[in-house]
Subunit: 234 residues, 2 copies
DNA sequence: TAAAATTGTGTGAAAATAACACGTTTTTAG
DNA sequence: CTAAAAACGTGTTATTTTCACACAATTTTA
Protein backbone atom coordinates (compact mmCIF):
# COMPACT_ATOMS: atom_id res chain seq x y z
CA UNK A 1 0.00 0.00 0.00
CA UNK A 2 1.32 3.36 -1.05
CA UNK A 3 1.69 6.08 1.52
CA UNK A 4 2.62 8.82 -0.92
CA UNK A 5 3.23 9.00 -4.63
CA UNK A 6 6.87 8.86 -5.63
CA UNK A 7 6.90 12.25 -7.32
CA UNK A 8 8.87 15.25 -6.11
CA UNK A 9 6.71 18.20 -7.19
CA UNK A 10 4.11 19.63 -4.89
CA UNK A 11 2.68 23.01 -5.70
CA UNK A 12 0.81 25.89 -4.16
CA UNK A 13 -2.69 26.06 -5.61
CA UNK A 14 -4.36 29.46 -5.93
CA UNK A 15 -7.87 30.46 -6.96
CA UNK A 16 -8.37 33.75 -8.76
CA UNK A 17 -11.79 35.30 -9.30
CA UNK A 18 -13.03 37.31 -12.24
CA UNK A 19 -16.17 38.97 -10.96
CA UNK A 20 -18.41 40.78 -13.41
CA UNK A 21 -21.03 43.33 -12.52
CA UNK A 22 -23.37 45.64 -14.43
CA UNK A 23 -24.45 49.07 -13.24
CA UNK A 24 -27.16 49.62 -15.83
CA UNK A 25 -24.83 51.22 -18.32
CA UNK A 26 -21.45 49.53 -18.33
CA UNK A 27 -19.87 46.19 -17.54
CA UNK A 28 -17.58 46.29 -14.55
CA UNK A 29 -14.98 44.16 -12.87
CA UNK A 30 -14.35 43.86 -9.16
CA UNK A 31 -10.62 44.51 -8.85
CA UNK A 32 -8.37 45.05 -5.88
CA UNK A 33 -5.66 47.60 -5.31
CA UNK A 34 -3.13 45.46 -3.52
CA UNK A 35 -2.09 46.41 -0.01
CA UNK A 36 -0.09 43.22 0.45
CA UNK A 37 3.08 41.81 -1.03
CA UNK A 38 3.94 41.01 -3.72
CA UNK A 39 3.26 43.81 -6.20
CA UNK A 40 1.92 46.10 -3.50
CA UNK A 41 0.09 49.12 -4.90
CA UNK A 42 -0.73 47.43 -8.19
CA UNK A 43 -4.07 46.12 -9.38
CA UNK A 44 -5.04 42.49 -9.44
CA UNK A 45 -7.88 40.03 -9.36
CA UNK A 46 -8.97 38.77 -5.98
CA UNK A 47 -7.95 35.31 -4.95
CA UNK A 48 -6.80 32.98 -2.27
CA UNK A 49 -5.13 29.65 -1.68
CA UNK A 50 -6.61 26.20 -1.47
CA UNK A 51 -6.50 24.92 2.10
CA UNK A 52 -5.55 21.56 3.45
CA UNK A 53 -8.63 19.35 3.70
CA UNK A 54 -10.76 21.68 1.59
CA UNK A 55 -12.48 20.63 -1.62
CA UNK A 56 -11.57 22.79 -4.58
CA UNK A 57 -15.19 23.77 -5.12
CA UNK A 58 -15.63 24.62 -1.45
CA UNK A 59 -12.53 26.79 -1.64
CA UNK A 60 -14.05 28.61 -4.61
CA UNK A 61 -17.24 29.31 -2.68
CA UNK A 62 -15.27 30.38 0.37
CA UNK A 63 -13.07 32.81 -1.50
CA UNK A 64 -15.98 34.31 -3.42
CA UNK A 65 -17.80 34.78 -0.13
CA UNK A 66 -14.77 36.31 1.59
CA UNK A 67 -14.32 38.71 -1.29
CA UNK A 68 -17.92 39.73 -1.99
CA UNK A 69 -19.88 38.84 1.11
CA UNK A 70 -22.30 37.01 -1.16
CA UNK A 71 -23.29 33.35 -1.19
CA UNK A 72 -24.88 31.22 -3.89
CA UNK A 73 -23.74 33.47 -6.68
CA UNK A 74 -23.16 32.28 -10.20
CA UNK A 75 -19.70 30.96 -10.90
CA UNK A 76 -17.98 28.40 -13.04
CA UNK A 77 -14.42 27.39 -13.68
CA UNK A 78 -12.78 29.45 -16.38
CA UNK A 79 -9.45 27.70 -16.83
CA UNK A 80 -6.43 26.60 -14.86
CA UNK A 81 -3.32 28.68 -15.43
CA UNK A 82 0.00 26.99 -14.88
CA UNK A 83 2.93 28.72 -16.55
CA UNK A 84 6.09 28.13 -14.52
CA UNK A 85 6.92 31.77 -13.93
CA UNK A 86 3.45 33.22 -13.78
CA UNK A 87 4.02 34.18 -10.15
CA UNK A 88 7.49 35.57 -9.36
CA UNK A 89 7.35 34.68 -5.67
CA UNK A 90 7.06 30.95 -6.10
CA UNK A 91 5.50 28.54 -8.51
CA UNK A 92 1.72 28.71 -8.21
CA UNK A 93 -0.95 27.08 -10.32
CA UNK A 94 -4.13 29.11 -10.40
CA UNK A 95 -7.64 27.78 -10.91
CA UNK A 96 -9.41 30.77 -12.39
CA UNK A 97 -13.09 31.40 -11.65
CA UNK A 98 -15.63 33.27 -13.70
CA UNK A 99 -18.42 34.85 -11.70
CA UNK A 100 -21.44 37.08 -12.30
CA UNK A 101 -23.12 39.07 -9.56
CA UNK A 102 -25.82 41.65 -9.14
CA UNK A 103 -23.76 44.75 -8.46
CA UNK A 104 -26.46 46.29 -6.30
CA UNK A 105 -26.60 43.28 -3.98
CA UNK A 106 -22.92 43.85 -3.26
CA UNK A 107 -22.14 45.74 -0.09
CA UNK A 108 -19.90 48.75 -0.85
CA UNK A 109 -18.49 48.62 2.71
CA UNK A 110 -17.33 45.06 2.16
CA UNK A 111 -15.61 46.20 -1.00
CA UNK A 112 -13.89 49.07 0.81
CA UNK A 113 -12.64 46.70 3.49
CA UNK A 114 -11.06 44.58 0.78
CA UNK A 115 -9.62 47.61 -0.97
CA UNK A 116 -11.74 46.49 -3.91
CA UNK A 117 -13.39 48.67 -6.54
CA UNK A 118 -15.80 48.23 -9.39
CA UNK A 119 -13.87 49.26 -12.48
CA UNK A 120 -15.34 49.77 -15.93
CA UNK A 121 -14.23 46.93 -18.15
CA UNK A 122 -13.32 49.35 -20.91
CA UNK A 123 -10.82 51.35 -18.93
CA UNK A 124 -9.44 48.78 -16.55
CA UNK A 125 -5.88 49.16 -15.35
CA UNK A 126 -3.06 46.83 -16.15
CA UNK A 127 -3.10 43.84 -13.82
CA UNK A 128 -0.32 41.83 -12.25
CA UNK A 129 0.96 38.41 -13.29
CA UNK A 130 -1.17 36.75 -15.98
CA UNK A 131 -4.36 38.39 -14.73
CA UNK A 132 -4.83 40.39 -17.93
CA UNK A 133 -4.84 37.16 -19.86
CA UNK A 134 -7.41 35.74 -17.46
CA UNK A 135 -9.68 38.73 -17.87
CA UNK A 136 -9.47 38.57 -21.66
CA UNK A 137 -10.43 34.92 -21.60
CA UNK A 138 -13.28 35.67 -19.22
CA UNK A 139 -14.70 38.34 -21.53
CA UNK A 140 -14.59 35.86 -24.38
CA UNK A 141 -16.35 33.29 -22.23
CA UNK A 142 -18.99 35.77 -21.14
CA UNK A 143 -19.74 36.65 -24.76
CA UNK A 144 -19.86 33.03 -25.71
CA UNK A 145 -22.15 31.92 -22.94
CA UNK A 146 -24.47 34.91 -23.00
CA UNK A 147 -25.14 34.33 -26.68
CA UNK A 148 -26.44 30.85 -26.03
CA UNK A 149 -27.59 30.66 -22.44
CA UNK A 150 -29.79 32.90 -20.30
CA UNK A 151 -26.80 33.83 -18.19
CA UNK A 152 -27.29 37.59 -18.34
CA UNK A 153 -29.98 37.58 -15.68
CA UNK A 154 -27.31 36.83 -13.08
CA UNK A 155 -26.05 40.38 -13.51
CA UNK A 156 -29.42 42.06 -12.98
CA UNK A 157 -31.58 42.74 -9.94
CA UNK A 158 -34.45 40.41 -9.18
CA UNK A 159 -36.89 42.62 -11.04
CA UNK A 160 -35.79 44.17 -14.28
CA UNK A 161 -37.18 45.57 -17.52
CA UNK A 162 -36.54 44.35 -21.04
CA UNK A 163 -34.77 47.60 -21.99
CA UNK A 164 -32.42 47.06 -19.03
CA UNK A 165 -31.68 43.56 -20.22
CA UNK A 166 -31.06 44.90 -23.69
CA UNK A 167 -28.59 47.46 -22.37
CA UNK A 168 -26.74 44.64 -20.66
CA UNK A 169 -26.48 42.67 -23.88
CA UNK A 170 -25.38 45.76 -25.75
CA UNK A 171 -22.67 46.28 -23.15
CA UNK A 172 -21.51 42.67 -23.35
CA UNK A 173 -21.20 42.71 -27.13
CA UNK A 174 -20.45 46.40 -27.49
CA UNK A 175 -22.96 46.75 -30.28
CA UNK A 176 -26.45 48.16 -30.72
CA UNK A 177 -29.39 45.77 -30.91
CA UNK A 178 -32.78 46.21 -32.50
CA UNK A 179 -35.21 46.89 -29.68
CA UNK A 180 -38.18 45.14 -31.26
CA UNK A 181 -36.40 41.96 -32.27
CA UNK A 182 -34.61 41.73 -28.95
CA UNK A 183 -37.81 42.07 -27.02
CA UNK A 184 -39.58 39.41 -29.07
CA UNK A 185 -36.67 37.00 -28.85
CA UNK A 186 -36.37 37.33 -25.08
CA UNK A 187 -40.11 37.04 -24.49
CA UNK A 188 -40.34 34.00 -26.77
CA UNK A 189 -38.09 32.06 -24.40
CA UNK A 190 -40.87 32.07 -21.86
CA UNK A 191 -38.35 32.72 -19.10
CA UNK A 192 -39.79 36.09 -18.11
CA UNK A 193 -42.76 36.62 -15.85
CA UNK A 194 -44.61 39.92 -15.88
CA UNK A 195 -44.72 41.17 -12.27
CA UNK A 196 -47.53 43.61 -13.06
CA UNK A 197 -45.32 46.41 -11.78
CA UNK A 198 -43.58 49.15 -13.70
CA UNK A 199 -40.18 50.68 -13.31
CA UNK A 200 -41.00 53.83 -11.32
CA UNK A 201 -37.38 54.99 -11.50
CA UNK A 202 -37.66 55.68 -15.19
CA UNK A 203 -37.66 59.27 -16.30
CA UNK A 204 -39.85 58.59 -19.35
CA UNK A 205 -42.33 55.86 -20.17
CA UNK A 206 -42.21 53.31 -17.36
CA UNK A 207 -41.31 49.87 -18.62
CA UNK A 208 -42.81 46.63 -17.35
CA UNK A 209 -40.83 44.90 -14.62
CA UNK A 210 -40.24 41.21 -15.17
CA UNK A 211 -38.74 38.53 -13.02
CA UNK A 212 -37.09 35.30 -14.00
CA UNK A 213 -39.06 32.06 -14.03
CA UNK A 214 -36.53 30.28 -11.82
CA UNK A 215 -37.87 26.82 -12.55
CA UNK A 216 -37.70 27.21 -16.31
CA UNK A 217 -34.36 28.93 -15.95
CA UNK A 218 -32.80 25.97 -14.17
CA UNK A 219 -34.40 23.53 -16.54
CA UNK A 220 -33.56 25.26 -19.80
CA UNK A 221 -30.22 26.71 -18.87
CA UNK A 222 -28.35 24.34 -21.12
CA UNK A 223 -30.88 24.32 -23.94
CA UNK A 224 -29.18 26.96 -25.95
CA UNK A 225 -31.32 29.71 -27.20
CA UNK A 226 -29.36 31.90 -29.56
CA UNK A 227 -29.92 35.25 -27.95
CA UNK A 228 -27.71 37.14 -30.34
CA UNK A 229 -28.09 37.79 -34.04
CA UNK A 230 -25.03 37.24 -36.13
CA UNK A 231 -22.44 36.99 -33.38
CA UNK A 232 -19.29 35.55 -34.77
CA UNK A 233 -17.69 34.39 -31.60
CA UNK A 234 -14.01 35.04 -31.97
CA UNK B 1 10.81 40.69 -0.82
CA UNK B 2 8.98 37.42 -0.35
CA UNK B 3 10.81 34.15 -0.79
CA UNK B 4 7.78 31.93 -0.40
CA UNK B 5 4.12 32.50 0.35
CA UNK B 6 3.17 31.98 3.95
CA UNK B 7 0.70 29.18 3.26
CA UNK B 8 1.13 25.58 4.39
CA UNK B 9 -0.60 23.60 1.66
CA UNK B 10 1.31 22.36 -1.36
CA UNK B 11 -0.31 19.72 -3.47
CA UNK B 12 0.49 17.10 -6.06
CA UNK B 13 -0.93 18.13 -9.41
CA UNK B 14 -2.05 15.43 -11.82
CA UNK B 15 -3.27 15.59 -15.40
CA UNK B 16 -5.81 13.03 -16.57
CA UNK B 17 -6.69 12.56 -20.22
CA UNK B 18 -10.03 11.66 -21.76
CA UNK B 19 -9.16 10.56 -25.26
CA UNK B 20 -11.97 9.98 -27.74
CA UNK B 21 -11.66 8.01 -30.94
CA UNK B 22 -14.07 6.84 -33.65
CA UNK B 23 -13.72 3.61 -35.58
CA UNK B 24 -16.34 4.35 -38.21
CA UNK B 25 -19.17 2.86 -36.20
CA UNK B 26 -18.81 3.64 -32.52
CA UNK B 27 -17.27 6.21 -30.23
CA UNK B 28 -14.39 4.86 -28.20
CA UNK B 29 -12.29 5.84 -25.24
CA UNK B 30 -8.62 5.10 -24.75
CA UNK B 31 -8.49 3.50 -21.31
CA UNK B 32 -5.76 1.75 -19.42
CA UNK B 33 -5.83 -1.44 -17.43
CA UNK B 34 -3.59 -0.47 -14.57
CA UNK B 35 -0.43 -2.46 -13.93
CA UNK B 36 0.78 -0.04 -11.28
CA UNK B 37 -0.32 0.89 -7.80
CA UNK B 38 -2.74 2.05 -6.64
CA UNK B 39 -5.83 0.16 -7.83
CA UNK B 40 -3.77 -2.31 -9.82
CA UNK B 41 -5.84 -4.40 -12.24
CA UNK B 42 -8.63 -1.81 -12.45
CA UNK B 43 -9.45 0.51 -15.33
CA UNK B 44 -8.61 4.18 -15.38
CA UNK B 45 -7.93 7.17 -17.56
CA UNK B 46 -4.33 7.80 -18.49
CA UNK B 47 -2.52 10.55 -16.73
CA UNK B 48 0.66 11.83 -15.21
CA UNK B 49 2.03 14.40 -12.83
CA UNK B 50 3.09 17.96 -13.45
CA UNK B 51 6.86 18.28 -13.22
CA UNK B 52 9.00 20.89 -11.58
CA UNK B 53 9.80 23.66 -14.04
CA UNK B 54 7.19 22.49 -16.55
CA UNK B 55 4.35 24.68 -17.80
CA UNK B 56 0.93 23.12 -17.28
CA UNK B 57 0.20 23.22 -20.99
CA UNK B 58 3.54 21.64 -21.81
CA UNK B 59 2.82 18.89 -19.32
CA UNK B 60 -0.50 18.26 -21.06
CA UNK B 61 1.22 17.92 -24.42
CA UNK B 62 3.92 15.71 -22.95
CA UNK B 63 1.49 13.34 -21.28
CA UNK B 64 -0.71 13.10 -24.36
CA UNK B 65 2.39 12.33 -26.41
CA UNK B 66 3.66 9.74 -23.93
CA UNK B 67 0.29 8.06 -23.92
CA UNK B 68 -0.60 8.14 -27.62
CA UNK B 69 2.66 8.72 -29.48
CA UNK B 70 0.88 11.58 -31.25
CA UNK B 71 1.75 15.27 -31.35
CA UNK B 72 -0.34 18.29 -32.24
CA UNK B 73 -3.62 16.57 -31.50
CA UNK B 74 -6.76 18.37 -30.48
CA UNK B 75 -7.13 18.93 -26.78
CA UNK B 76 -8.61 21.42 -24.38
CA UNK B 77 -9.01 21.66 -20.66
CA UNK B 78 -12.15 19.97 -19.43
CA UNK B 79 -12.16 20.91 -15.76
CA UNK B 80 -10.00 20.73 -12.68
CA UNK B 81 -11.10 18.17 -10.13
CA UNK B 82 -10.17 18.79 -6.54
CA UNK B 83 -12.23 16.87 -4.01
CA UNK B 84 -10.16 16.18 -0.93
CA UNK B 85 -10.47 12.40 -1.01
CA UNK B 86 -10.64 11.85 -4.75
CA UNK B 87 -7.35 9.96 -4.59
CA UNK B 88 -6.97 7.61 -1.62
CA UNK B 89 -3.16 7.59 -1.71
CA UNK B 90 -2.65 11.28 -1.10
CA UNK B 91 -4.40 14.49 -1.91
CA UNK B 92 -4.12 15.20 -5.62
CA UNK B 93 -5.76 17.87 -7.71
CA UNK B 94 -6.31 16.76 -11.28
CA UNK B 95 -6.47 18.98 -14.33
CA UNK B 96 -8.60 16.95 -16.68
CA UNK B 97 -8.02 17.10 -20.44
CA UNK B 98 -10.46 16.44 -23.24
CA UNK B 99 -8.86 15.15 -26.42
CA UNK B 100 -9.96 13.93 -29.85
CA UNK B 101 -7.77 11.83 -32.08
CA UNK B 102 -7.96 9.95 -35.34
CA UNK B 103 -8.07 6.39 -34.11
CA UNK B 104 -6.30 5.07 -37.21
CA UNK B 105 -3.34 7.39 -36.74
CA UNK B 106 -2.80 5.80 -33.35
CA UNK B 107 -0.19 3.07 -33.21
CA UNK B 108 -1.66 -0.11 -31.71
CA UNK B 109 1.80 -1.18 -30.50
CA UNK B 110 2.13 2.04 -28.51
CA UNK B 111 -1.24 1.27 -26.94
CA UNK B 112 -0.19 -2.29 -26.05
CA UNK B 113 2.98 -1.00 -24.43
CA UNK B 114 0.86 1.25 -22.22
CA UNK B 115 -1.59 -1.53 -21.49
CA UNK B 116 -4.15 0.75 -23.13
CA UNK B 117 -7.23 -0.28 -25.09
CA UNK B 118 -9.88 1.39 -27.19
CA UNK B 119 -13.15 0.69 -25.40
CA UNK B 120 -16.60 1.37 -26.79
CA UNK B 121 -18.09 4.28 -24.91
CA UNK B 122 -21.35 2.44 -24.46
CA UNK B 123 -19.94 -0.54 -22.60
CA UNK B 124 -17.03 1.01 -20.79
CA UNK B 125 -15.96 -0.50 -17.51
CA UNK B 126 -16.20 1.20 -14.17
CA UNK B 127 -13.23 3.48 -13.63
CA UNK B 128 -11.23 4.31 -10.53
CA UNK B 129 -11.40 7.46 -8.41
CA UNK B 130 -13.60 10.18 -9.95
CA UNK B 131 -12.77 9.12 -13.49
CA UNK B 132 -16.35 8.12 -14.25
CA UNK B 133 -17.45 11.62 -13.40
CA UNK B 134 -14.75 13.01 -15.67
CA UNK B 135 -15.88 10.84 -18.58
CA UNK B 136 -19.50 11.83 -18.13
CA UNK B 137 -18.55 15.48 -18.19
CA UNK B 138 -16.41 14.90 -21.27
CA UNK B 139 -19.29 13.28 -23.15
CA UNK B 140 -21.46 16.26 -22.30
CA UNK B 141 -18.73 18.60 -23.52
CA UNK B 142 -18.27 16.65 -26.73
CA UNK B 143 -21.98 16.85 -27.48
CA UNK B 144 -22.02 20.52 -26.68
CA UNK B 145 -19.04 21.47 -28.78
CA UNK B 146 -19.80 19.23 -31.73
CA UNK B 147 -23.25 20.80 -32.06
CA UNK B 148 -21.75 24.24 -32.51
CA UNK B 149 -18.20 23.85 -33.77
CA UNK B 150 -16.66 21.77 -36.53
CA UNK B 151 -14.88 19.66 -33.96
CA UNK B 152 -15.91 16.27 -35.33
CA UNK B 153 -13.29 16.34 -38.06
CA UNK B 154 -10.60 15.78 -35.43
CA UNK B 155 -11.89 12.24 -35.02
CA UNK B 156 -11.73 11.36 -38.72
CA UNK B 157 -8.90 10.55 -41.12
CA UNK B 158 -7.57 13.28 -43.35
CA UNK B 159 -9.86 12.21 -46.17
CA UNK B 160 -13.39 11.23 -45.32
CA UNK B 161 -16.84 10.97 -46.84
CA UNK B 162 -20.00 12.76 -45.78
CA UNK B 163 -21.71 9.50 -44.80
CA UNK B 164 -18.75 8.76 -42.52
CA UNK B 165 -19.10 12.17 -40.93
CA UNK B 166 -22.79 11.57 -40.49
CA UNK B 167 -22.16 8.25 -38.77
CA UNK B 168 -19.85 10.06 -36.37
CA UNK B 169 -22.52 12.61 -35.51
CA UNK B 170 -25.08 9.87 -35.11
CA UNK B 171 -22.70 8.12 -32.71
CA UNK B 172 -22.08 11.29 -30.70
CA UNK B 173 -25.74 12.07 -30.25
CA UNK B 174 -26.98 8.50 -30.39
CA UNK B 175 -29.77 9.43 -32.79
CA UNK B 176 -30.45 9.02 -36.51
CA UNK B 177 -30.06 12.01 -38.81
CA UNK B 178 -31.62 12.74 -42.16
CA UNK B 179 -29.00 12.01 -44.78
CA UNK B 180 -30.07 14.75 -47.17
CA UNK B 181 -30.38 17.55 -44.67
CA UNK B 182 -27.13 16.59 -42.96
CA UNK B 183 -25.26 16.63 -46.23
CA UNK B 184 -26.59 20.01 -47.24
CA UNK B 185 -25.88 21.54 -43.85
CA UNK B 186 -22.30 20.29 -43.79
CA UNK B 187 -21.59 21.35 -47.37
CA UNK B 188 -23.11 24.79 -46.77
CA UNK B 189 -20.39 25.52 -44.22
CA UNK B 190 -17.87 25.61 -47.05
CA UNK B 191 -15.38 23.76 -44.86
CA UNK B 192 -15.18 20.69 -47.10
CA UNK B 193 -13.05 20.39 -50.20
CA UNK B 194 -13.82 17.72 -52.80
CA UNK B 195 -10.60 15.76 -53.34
CA UNK B 196 -11.87 14.32 -56.62
CA UNK B 197 -11.31 10.85 -55.20
CA UNK B 198 -13.81 8.28 -54.05
CA UNK B 199 -13.85 5.92 -51.13
CA UNK B 200 -12.62 2.69 -52.76
CA UNK B 201 -13.10 0.76 -49.53
CA UNK B 202 -16.84 1.00 -49.76
CA UNK B 203 -18.78 -2.14 -50.55
CA UNK B 204 -21.54 -0.27 -52.37
CA UNK B 205 -21.66 3.06 -54.15
CA UNK B 206 -18.37 4.84 -53.52
CA UNK B 207 -18.81 8.15 -51.82
CA UNK B 208 -16.83 11.30 -52.56
CA UNK B 209 -13.81 11.83 -50.36
CA UNK B 210 -13.51 15.30 -48.88
CA UNK B 211 -10.79 16.95 -46.90
CA UNK B 212 -11.02 19.84 -44.48
CA UNK B 213 -10.26 23.38 -45.62
CA UNK B 214 -7.72 23.94 -42.86
CA UNK B 215 -7.59 27.69 -43.30
CA UNK B 216 -11.35 28.15 -43.04
CA UNK B 217 -11.43 25.63 -40.23
CA UNK B 218 -8.99 27.61 -38.10
CA UNK B 219 -10.70 30.86 -38.95
CA UNK B 220 -14.29 29.80 -38.38
CA UNK B 221 -13.76 27.39 -35.55
CA UNK B 222 -15.37 29.70 -33.04
CA UNK B 223 -18.10 31.00 -35.33
CA UNK B 224 -20.69 28.54 -34.24
CA UNK B 225 -22.55 26.77 -36.93
CA UNK B 226 -25.39 24.78 -35.43
CA UNK B 227 -24.61 21.38 -36.86
CA UNK B 228 -27.41 19.63 -35.10
CA UNK B 229 -31.15 19.95 -35.48
CA UNK B 230 -33.09 20.20 -32.29
CA UNK B 231 -30.37 19.30 -29.82
CA UNK B 232 -31.49 20.24 -26.38
CA UNK B 233 -28.19 20.13 -24.59
CA UNK B 234 -28.89 18.69 -21.18
C1' DT C 1 -49.84 72.00 -24.93
C1' DA C 2 -46.54 70.35 -28.02
C1' DA C 3 -42.10 68.20 -28.47
C1' DA C 4 -38.87 64.70 -27.06
C1' DA C 5 -37.65 60.41 -25.22
C1' DT C 6 -38.74 55.88 -24.38
C1' DT C 7 -41.64 51.68 -24.47
C1' DG C 8 -44.84 48.08 -26.51
C1' DT C 9 -46.62 45.71 -30.49
C1' DG C 10 -47.20 44.66 -35.57
C1' DT C 11 -45.97 43.36 -40.44
C1' DG C 12 -43.92 41.58 -44.59
C1' DA C 13 -39.73 39.95 -47.06
C1' DA C 14 -35.94 36.93 -46.78
C1' DA C 15 -33.49 33.10 -45.02
C1' DA C 16 -33.04 28.75 -42.73
C1' DT C 17 -34.95 24.35 -41.65
C1' DA C 18 -37.34 19.99 -42.03
C1' DA C 19 -39.72 16.49 -44.43
C1' DC C 20 -39.77 14.00 -48.31
C1' DA C 21 -38.82 11.98 -53.68
C1' DC C 22 -36.18 10.60 -57.19
C1' DG C 23 -32.31 9.10 -59.96
C1' DT C 24 -27.42 7.10 -59.93
C1' DT C 25 -23.70 3.93 -58.79
C1' DT C 26 -22.00 -0.42 -57.33
C1' DT C 27 -22.17 -5.11 -55.59
C1' DT C 28 -24.35 -9.50 -55.19
C1' DA C 29 -27.69 -13.22 -55.98
C1' DG C 30 -29.58 -16.05 -59.32
C1' DC D 1 -25.97 -11.52 -67.88
C1' DT D 2 -29.59 -9.42 -65.37
C1' DA D 3 -32.30 -7.89 -61.64
C1' DA D 4 -32.51 -6.73 -56.93
C1' DA D 5 -30.53 -4.45 -53.04
C1' DA D 6 -27.82 -1.11 -50.78
C1' DA D 7 -25.80 3.23 -50.45
C1' DC D 8 -24.98 7.83 -52.38
C1' DG D 9 -26.06 12.60 -54.47
C1' DT D 10 -29.22 16.16 -55.53
C1' DG D 11 -33.86 18.45 -55.81
C1' DT D 12 -38.46 20.30 -54.12
C1' DT D 13 -41.74 22.32 -51.10
C1' DA D 14 -44.00 23.76 -46.86
C1' DT D 15 -43.02 25.57 -42.52
C1' DT D 16 -40.59 28.17 -39.27
C1' DT D 17 -37.42 31.61 -37.90
C1' DT D 18 -35.13 35.84 -38.52
C1' DC D 19 -34.58 40.49 -39.84
C1' DA D 20 -35.58 45.19 -41.02
C1' DC D 21 -38.62 48.58 -40.41
C1' DA D 22 -43.51 51.34 -38.91
C1' DC D 23 -46.61 52.95 -35.82
C1' DA D 24 -49.04 53.88 -31.57
C1' DA D 25 -48.82 54.71 -26.49
C1' DT D 26 -46.82 56.70 -22.20
C1' DT D 27 -44.41 60.12 -19.54
C1' DT D 28 -41.58 64.23 -18.73
C1' DT D 29 -40.04 68.72 -20.02
C1' DA D 30 -39.99 73.06 -22.38
Amino acid sequence: MLIKYDHPTRILLALDCIIFGFDGEELKLLLVKRNIEPEIGKWSLMGGFLNEGEDLEVAAERILYERTGLKEIYFEELQTFGKVNRDPVERTVSVCLFSLINIHAHNPDAAKAQNAYWINLKNRPNLIFDHNEMVNLAIERLRYKAALHPIGFELLPEKFTIPQLQKLYEAIYDMPLDRRNFSRKILSTGLLIDTGEKNENSITKKAILYRLDQEKYQKHFNAFLNFMPDVSLS
